[in-house]
Symmetry: C2
Subunit: 374 residues, 2 copies
């Protein structure tokens, strides 16, 4: 994998060189992981002036000896790992000092990640270096995934499907939202996840359909809607799977109607996914189905979002989002409706945008979207 990371760093260097920025300092953990293969706590990644063969090269500065795949002094795909002396306050400031001592004149830093206080410390550590804004260049580069990244997402989705499938075979009535969430998280890990991708949400009865509802002590009752949203983190890649069920033998009329509306909205969103489609058009496709059914008030501000090394990353599928989808961009499509006091429905999938010629969007989370009565 180290050649993959070296190639990513080289692409970032090229992009920055074109902007006149000779050295780059990456501080955001997910971006460091993308470019270096690992992000030890508190680390900073410096792409020094003069390229990989320059006086500094590519260096990962770590406050403590890293564990796992990285070792001090290791050279992997031109990346050196350097452990800072004990007491070094900030690896990013140390990296700026290193860039300065290597003769860098310009250093691009992540202004959206660095606090004002840390940015000031960087300036003090490298007083003759002009700091510029790298902006979200690495996030941009992370947008389109390679097939190895998509393979990790596929496994993450498979794990989430398995965990949910097993839960559905057990008795649910009488159990609390908290216990169902904990059991799902245990099953994710049992099936090989490094952990949950985000705190598992379980909502029953009036809590169903609330996005991100934190599990409470409410117990599952006959006649409830039960909505579940979970995801696995597999080798750093995060997926999302949301489903809603009915508890008992026959759903009520309002439950069937609400489910059908959300199902239609989610399908419309999924079917809108294609390269060159605008982000807001995907949101629109799902949202207008809900609006037409009279559920336009109080909808969540977005229908979905990108996933990868973070559970929420670009693109955002919302009414105001600017930009167009590309092939190999994984996103969630998860509209929902919540009726205060009664409950609601949310259906959420992780998919990869693919061109029509490749069969259209690839569905990663394959748990059925029929309205199951459990």
């Amino acid at each position: 994998m180290s050649e993959v990371h070296a190639a990513r760093r080289s692409q970032l260097r090229d992009r920055c060189a074109a902007a006149g920025e000779a050295a780059v300092l990456v501080s955001r953990p997910a971006n460091i992981r993308y470019l270096a293969g690992a992000a030890p706590a508190g680390a900073a990644l410096l792409l020094g002036p003069g390229g990989p063969a320059g006086p500094v090269g590519d260096v990962l500065l770590c406050p403590r000896p890293p564990s796992g795949d990285l070792a001090e002094g290791q050279v992997a795909g031109d990346l050196r790992v350097r452990v800072l002396p004990a007491g070094t306050a900030d690896a990013a400031a140390a990296a700026a000092g290193l860039a300065a001592s290597a003769g860098a004149e310009l250093l691009a830093v992540e202004e959206h990640d660095l606090s004002v206080t840390r940015h000031r410390a960087l300036g003090a550590a490298a007083p003759h270096v002009r700091l510029t804004d790298l902006s979200r260049a690495v996030e941009q580069q992370r947008l389109v995934k390679d097939e190895e990244e998509i393979a990790c997402l596929r496994i993450a989705a498979e794990i989430a499907d398995q965990a949910l499938g097993e839960l559905l075979e057990s008795i649910l009535v009488g159990r609390t939202e908290r216990h169902l969430a904990l059991e799902l998280e245990r099953r994710l890990v049992d099936h090989g996840a490094d952990g949950p991708a985000f705190p598992t949400s379980v909502g029953t009865g009036p809590n169903s359909g609330v996005p991100g509802h934190p599990p409470s002590d409410r117990r599952v009752e006959e006649g409830d809607f039960l909505s579940v949203c979970l995801g696995a983190d597999y080798r750093g890649y995060h997926c999302e799977l949301g489903r809603t069920f009915v508890i008992g033998t026959s759903p009520a009329r309002w439950q069937i109607e609400l489910y059908e509306v959300v199902f239609a909205a989610q399908r419309a969103g999924r079917e809108a996914l294609a390269p060159t489609v605008e982000y807001h058009a995907v949101d629109r496709a799902a949202r207008q189905v809900l609006e037409a059914a009279g559920h336009g008030g109080g909808l969540p501000r977005r229908t979905g979002h990108g996933v990868g090394l973070e559970i929420h990353e670009d693109p955002e599928l919302s009414p105001t989002a600017m930009g167009k989808l590309d092939a190999c961009v994984p996103v969630t499509v998860g509209p929902g409706v919540h009726l205060p006091g009664r409950g609601g429905v949310r259906i959420d999938d992780t998919l990869v945008v693919r061109p029509e010629a490749d069969g259209g969007p690839e569905l990663l989370t394959i748990t059925t979207k029929e309205l199951l009565a459990l």
Copy 2:
């Protein structure tokens, strides 16, 4: 509780007024929770110019309607909750705009929390307002806890003690670190925790004694050291409890010796806790016991840290930490030694600093520190 939060805001206002700063914008979630009683995602807290009776007063700006204890338009202890229009990018920038429209000339912001990008957006939203640095004023104010906060920590510690106690009664040999960690987290929630205070660490055999070791698939074996570090989050307050055990009937000689050294170091650290004692002196008390026994190399950079609304907060108990303990400051004391390839010992308690006249440090985590053979 709302009077408590109003009093905290009033104390912060007084402190800022003394520094000539009429309006204050708090963006760090734990600080917002401390001052407002809740910190909805993405919220910002503005203490407007002119005090609570000024044109703006104290306002919590939320990107979405808050759930739980807060409701839109609610006035609790002079705090108003305002939900921002959909599409507002940043509550902090909206708060800066509000301060500007209310005639604020100076606005103190948390430069250690705001990214350079967000800080710039604040400046653009309030072009005629001069932004100053609030610095860590709220963190400072959070250092000494009131008795209600300590009561929450006491319950959090009790929950952690219960969860660990139950685990020790079960069969451990053959179970993986991952499963033990998940079971501990389930038991924390069973006993009333809102969740784990931090990811539970379980280390067996060669992994024992590694600070923050992420649980792996290694199974507990006869003769292993087993080290566990867990904590409960109870109403936002976080505790930490670490213990090390031996698996099997009789510990090896080296295990007894290592345990005794760490035990002595931890006791020395605990006994050093008193008002007016320097932070680094507590670290020194524990560290010198380990050094004298020949374990000075590769020690963690700190012996303990403050706990409260965050699991790691001020003070830091480390060789370079500046400052003196106060009464009613809760801290952890958790030294440890890890011998590469063999394993190690860590013993970690949460305590509250109390004066000698009140009986000295109050131990919150009361699980035995005898070397148990399980």
